[in-house]
Amino acid sequence: MESLENLWATYSTLALSLGTNVLLALSIYLTLACGLLTVANAAFMGLGAYTAGLLTVQAGMPFPLALFCGALLPALVALLIGPPTLRLSGVYLAMATLAFGEVVRILILNAEGLTGGALGLNAIPQLTRWFDVALAVGLALYVLLRLARSRIGRAMTAICQDETATELMGIDVRAWAVEILAMGVLGGTGSPWGAVIGGVLITLLPELLRGLGHYRPLINGVVLIVIILYSPRGIWDLIRPIRRSTQISAAN
């Protein structure tokens, strides 16, 4: 029991960042599943984190409420910047969202009075427990898996495969994209599970490779490049055909 406690004391930070990174990966999955290359996801996450942190430290707001506001504010911002930016597509959308991320970063760095600037927010009480993170991941996964199987999921896949053809099926592609961007903030492509694998791996990889010392970033990079070269649609894509074929043979 004691050794277990020691293990938790050592690795609890890792476990928590594992969960948070899975959430971030899921949010990226959602936008990518719609064929939208946005890179603002981290900025939205930062907005949420600062909102929740500031409300706790400065306003002394109760934890659940602060957490809720931390999700709400970035969603509102996404609804605001969504309609204009989503007129863009492809690399232009990526550039616009990249710029948005920079604006957020610079704002936070310079609003020293509020955010502490480069020094960051200090003395935030650690109110997040492991099951809060687990619950958030579970909830996000449940919603995304239900979505993927629903009409919305079908529309998302269709948009990703051929936006024009989808529009001509009577689907308002841009309205969907705005909704998805806002949802993505609350939250590998092809399946939510791919995003989970990605989030876990990216967090664990540096830890697992710790023994390699200076070569760690190198090996980390090699692993990523190998995946991009041999399974460009992610690790989940390697597993999925096996599942599909077993499902088909089971159906027969």
């Binding site: 239900r146 629903s150 009577g170």
Partner: protein
């Protein structure tokens, strides 16, 4: 039903269509022919809202379509297929058709998270409707396959099923017989006739003259972006052969 009045389209300095007028008065099968590059597909892109005309008016059932977003045009009752097939290759046939059914909401977004009986019923109904539409084009037994695994001809038929799912009044077919063998061509001709008998108006772009002459009530000939002839198949046949392109 559909009326194009003096429609022009330029891309920069390139005039693709000039002063094109044509009407689809009511139910029937109509043809649009002409050599490659004459602007036939551009006419389809203008009607479906993918492109906006540089000048002129497009009306459907008395309402102007100019500048209307493609998904709204579809909801007004115009559906189309594509010259270069655009099925959703990595989705099953059922899913392909269901996407097009989906523009009519039968349940709210919340019931997706907490599946209610009504939601399940709506989903079941949707799959059933998709299966019926696939059966109409003879693809029933392949309903659960991925669309990418279908043959060329089958993908063209899937596109028709998907277009029908939007419940159109007017169906635009862009070279429905391209790349098909004579058996498949006959099959798709029969299907087009049947669709028309069930009350659908159809406008076809096609290079196969036997196909177009056999089906259409009236044919419009386009050359270098202008209408050069219009009439029944017999009238068109009687006019200069040069307009008809290559006979097969």
């Amino acid at each position: 039903m559909l009326r194009l009045s003096s429609v022009s389209k330029n891309f920069g300095g390139l005039q693709v269509l000039q002063d094109v007028s044509m009407t689809i008065p009511g139910r029937g099968i109509f043809g649009l022919i002409g050599p490659n590059g004459a602007g036939k597909t551009t006419v389809f892109n203008l009607i479906t809202g993918l492109l906006a005309p540089s000048a002129g008016v497009i009306e459907f059932c008395g309402e102007p379509l100019n500048g209307m977003a493609p998904h709204r045009v579809t909801r007004r009752g115009i559906a189309r297929t594509f010259q270069n097939i655009r099925v959703f290759k990595e989705m099953t046939l059922i899913e392909n058709v269901a996407v097009a059914l989906g523009s009519r909401r039968q349940y709210g977004a919340l019931s997706i998270l907490l599946p209610t009986a009504r939601y399940r019923e709506a989903e079941r109904l949707e799959v059933e409707m998709a299966r019926d539409l696939l059966a109409k084009v003879g693809l029933a037994e392949r309903a659960d396959r991925l669309a990418g695994a279908l043959s060329y001809g089958e993908q063209r038929r899937l596109e028709i099923a998907r277009a029908l799912a939007t419940e159109p009044k007017l169906l635009l077919l862009d070279e429905p017989a391209a790349g098909m063998n004579s058996g498949e061509k006959q099959q798709i001709m029969d299907e087009i006739v049947k669709l028309n008998e069930n009350g659908l108006s159809i406008l076809i772009i096609e290079h196969d003259m036997r196909f177009i002459m056999g089906l259409c009530r009236e044919i419009t000939v386009l050359n270098f972006g202008s209408v050069v002839a219009r009439g029944t198949p017999d009238e068109i046949r009687a006019r200069a052969e040069a307009y008809l392109g290559r006979e097969e």
